[in-house]
Every structure is written in structure tokens, then in C-alpha cells.
């Protein structure tokens, strides 16, 4: 069952990769991957049937991953919205030789 679902998921990502959903390309690809990963954790790895403590450990792992990715990317994505005056990039090349 799970195996079939995973196979379908794989097929879908490949198909989706050839479609253009604009910004959503990445969201869709990663969304499907996440669904697949969740299936593996819940069923292949028996996450669904394990103790609350184990579940907490798993959630912690992903939560910290989210902290690392989230806060770092928050820096990168807010760099272009500086409160200072418009940052006209100085003409490079000649001035900087």
C-alpha cells in the first residue's frame, strides 16, 4: 500500500517537474517529497506506533531543522528590503580596480 503511494508520489513529482507552476514549482516538488517522507516515517519506521517520547524526539529533530533553515533564510530574504535609502549598487569594475 505505502509502497504504491510512494511510487505514485515519485511519478507525480517527475510529472510536475515538467509543468510550470511559476513560484509553486519548488513548493509542489517539496510538498510531494514531504508527504512521501512522512509516509516513510509513519509506516516504514513505525513512527505512528511508537511511544510519545520517540515522537517528541522526531518532532524535535525537524523543529530544529526548521529553526536553522528558517532563521537563516529570514536573513537572506529580508536583505533586499533594507530601511536605508535605495541601495543603488555602485558601478563595479572600473572603480574597484
Amino acid at each position: 500500500m505505502i509502497f504504491l503511494a510512494l511510487m505514485v508520489g515519485t511519478g507525480m513529482t517527475v510529472w510536475a517537474a515538467y509543468q510550470n507552476f511559476g513560484l509553486f514549482n519548488i513548493v509542489i516538488a517539496l510538498g510531494i517529497a514531504s508527504i512521501k517522507a512522512t509516509l516513510v516515517i509513519l509506516f516504514f519506521m513505525h513512527g505512528k506506533y511508537s511511544s510519545r517520547r520517540t515522537k517528541l524526539v522526531i518532532v524535535c529533530g525537524f523543529f530544529w531543522l526548521a529553526i536553522m533553515l528558517g532563521l537563516t533564510l529570514a536573513d537572506y530574504s529580508s536583505r533586499h528590503a533594507e530601511p536605508s535609502r535605495s541601495q543603488s549598487r555602485p558601478a563595479p569594475a572600473e572603480q574597484f580596480v
Binding site: 515519485t10 516513510v40 531543522l65
Partner: protein
């Protein structure tokens, strides 16, 4: 030392011992998540900075090989899960069989990976001095491209250069990440294969049954984790923005 179900000195009961092993494995997997997390972070930031080069780089990978590998690896996860199931239900013959199946699929995966690496080497896609993202568009014959594919590739590289004049440099970033990420993943596979080999020997002696199956279960957890990493690597490296080709 690996006598079936032996109680080690530091424990009071067998349940405590088993519980400890499972918890330990999960904690280990959590640290693996963060380990690969660093790679995913490096990937995300660099892709964000150079989307064109990463798109062009991604299209240089073989979707056929990558896709086939995904199927192989998920299948190996299935056989691994079946092996764990057989162990917990004391089907001793089946355990060995499924474990061998997992190992074979794992080796197929690694074999395909070697073929892919070789191809990248031939196509001058190893970062460093010889790197040339446009090598195949210039030497279609050497890369075994059909006339049509070659034309597509030439066009793609031209478009890429228009959007990103420094395409060749930035594509090296992509391929560094490609080799870094898949290389570390493959390394984990190799370790996993070693563990499987040991498990198969133990299973052959009929050591695992409903009472004692912790090694099968824990190595299973590890194997599934490695599978999950690939589930993310495949779309990130091979798939995103395929359509741009």
C-alpha cells in the same frame, strides 16, 4: 557478544534494554537530520542566489537514471520494512531473504550512482579547472547527444548565459553541491550496506525472532532515514525547473 537477547550488565530488564536501543537510534537519526540539514541550507541559499545556473545544472543530470534510482531505493525501503516485519513475527527464513533483497537493491543504487558520476566526469562537470558547463553543447558527439538534444542544450546554455553571464562559475556551485550531497548520501548507503551484510550473516544463523530483533529494527530505521534523504535530494537536484529545458 551478540548472543540472542542477552541482558547487558548495565540494565535491569530486557524491556529497558530494548527501549534504550530504540530511543538511542532515534536520537542518532535526529543528529543525522541536522547533519544533512546543513547541506540543504547551503543548497537553498545558493539556489536562491543563482536560480538560472542551478536550473541549467539540474538539466545536465540524467532524469532516467535518477528516477530509476528513486524507485530502486524506495523498493529497498519496502523490503527493509518487510524484513523487520518478518523478524517481529519470527519468520526467520524470510528475514534473511528480505535483507538480501535490500542489500541487492542498495548495491544497484550505488552502481547507478557510479555510472552517473562517470558520466559527469566525461562531460567536464567536475568543479575545478577543467569544468565547462557548455562542453556537451560544443561536443555533442562525445557526450552521445542526438542532434535534437544537442540543439536544445545549445539553446539552453545560450539562454542561461543571457540571464547569468557568470553561468560557468555558478554552475560549479551547483555541481559542488550535487557531488557533496549525493556523495555524503552515498557514503551513508555504503555504511548501511556494511551493516546489512552483518545483519544477513546474523540472520542466517537464525538469531532474530519476535523476542530479539533490535538490530534489524534499528538498522531498518537507519536505512529508511537514508531513503528519506534521497526522497528530498531527487526533486531538489534533478527536478526543480526541469520544464525550463
Amino acid at each position: 557478544m551478540h548472543r540472542t537477547g542477552e541482558l547487558y550488565g548495565q540494565f535491569q530488564t530486557l524491556e529497558q534494554q530494548k527501549e534504550t536501543a530504540t530511543l538511542g537510534m532515534w536520537v542518532f537519526i535526529v543528529q543525522e537530520i541536522l547533519f544533512f540539514g546543513g547541506l540543504f541550507l547551503a543548497y537553498t541559499v545558493n539556489r536562491h542566489a543563482h536560480p538560472t545556473a542551478f536550473g541549467v545544472g539540474g538539466n545536465m543530470l540524467s532524469l532516467k537514471l535518477g528516477g530509476a534510482n528513486t524507485v530502486v531505493l524506495i523498493a529497498s525501503s519496502l523490503t527493509m520494512a518487510m524484513a523487520v516485519w518478518s523478524a517481529t513475527t519470527s519468520k526467520k527464513k524470510l528475514v534473511t531473504l528480505f535483507l538480501i533483497g535490500t542489500l541487492v537493491l542498495g548495491c544497484v543504487f550505488l552502481g547507478v550512482k557510479v555510472v552517473e558520476y562517470k558520466e559527469k566526469f566525461d562531460h567536464h562537470l567536475i568543479p575545478g579547472h577543467g569544468f565547462d558547463i557548455s562542453y556537451c553543447s560544443k561536443n555533442a558527439a562525445a557526450c552521445g547527444l542526438s542532434a535534437k538534444d544537442a540543439a536544445t542544450e545549445v539553446e539552453e546554455i545560450e539562454n542561461g548565459l543571457k540571464a547569468d553571464p557568470d553561468l560557468n562559475a555558478h554552475a560549479q556551485l551547483y555541481f559542488s553541491l550535487y557531488f557533496g550531497m549525493t556523495g555524503l548520501h552515498a557514503l551513508h548507503m555504503v555504511v548501511g550496506a556494511g551493516l546489512l551484510l552483518w545483519l544477513i550473516l546474523q540472520a542466517g544463523k537464525g538469531r532474530f525472532d519476535a523476542n530479539y530483533n533490535t538490530p534489524v529494527e534499528n538498522i531498518g530505521l537507519y536505512w529508511h532515514f537514508v531513503d528519506i534523504v534521497w526522497i528530498y535530494l531527487f526533486p531538489l537536484l534533478y527536478l526543480i525547473n526541469r520544464h525550463l529545458a
